[in-house]
Symmetry: C2
Subunit: 136 residues, 2 copies
């Protein structure tokens, strides 16, 4: 269903999703309409979920990024799952296996903001925080 050409398109779009169908077609030797059809097929299948951007949060004054593992208190899980979307600092959230149940990626302005976030999370579970030093 997804062939080698589709994978080529995905590879290109991963690094620049704003290329025109014409440009995509030029790099893989295909007409704009064929490219369009393939991309639309992948959108319809849900293979391509979303076109997004990568933002440098530090350039926007958000100088602290961290991963937080959360071991939710008994009976608090359903509650947490509901309110997680109300935290603008939480950019990604995943259910995970292991001793902890939830993995968060958070972006905040500074240590004070991180502390306030942790204070609010601590109500629902034990937290384990890893500051992000750099991307590799």
């Amino acid at each position: 269903m997804i062939d080698a050409i589709d994978n080529q398109l995905l590879d290109i779009l991963k690094n620049n999703s704003r290329l025109s169908f014409a440009d995509l077609g030029r790099t893989i030797n295909l007409s704009p309409s064929s490219v369009r059809e393939r991309v639309q097929k992948m959108e319809d299948l849900g293979v391509i979920q979303k076109y997004g951007i990568q933002i440098d949060n530090r350039k926007l004054g958000y100088d602290l990024e961290a991963f937080i593992l959360l071991k939710v208190f008994p009976g608090q899980l359903a509650n947490i799952l509901k309110i997680i979307k109300d935290f603008p600092e939480i950019k990604e959230a995943h259910r995970i296996t292991g001793n902890q149940n939830i993995h968060l990626k958070v972006v905040v302005k500074n240590q004070t903001a991180l502390q306030e976030l942790l204070d609010r999370l601590m109500i629902h579970g034990d937290t384990n925080t890893f500051l992000i030093l750099s991307e590799i």
Copy 2:
């Protein structure tokens, strides 16, 4: 340097980076050229690092996603930093604070592939793996 209108643009682009400058302008009542200028300014400043796509890896036959915390063996850190880009399974890698030094997000086809990846990582450090159950 980044004003409220820029932030509006970023918010829209986060969820659909393929919108035309004309469409962006229509939703925030600005001419296409002004939108273009603002977006280009943010690209030049490095605020917008990249236009990308979100892919549903499970729909591509990659059924297992995991976070791996790596406690690198003494003297192995420089080595690991060099070879991490040679692992196609590793989609994200960060240096972190704490007892472990590196945080990885990996995508693999199945348990066998995960095991093989862990075998290769174990040479350089102790691993701690959390399978991803779902996004929240």
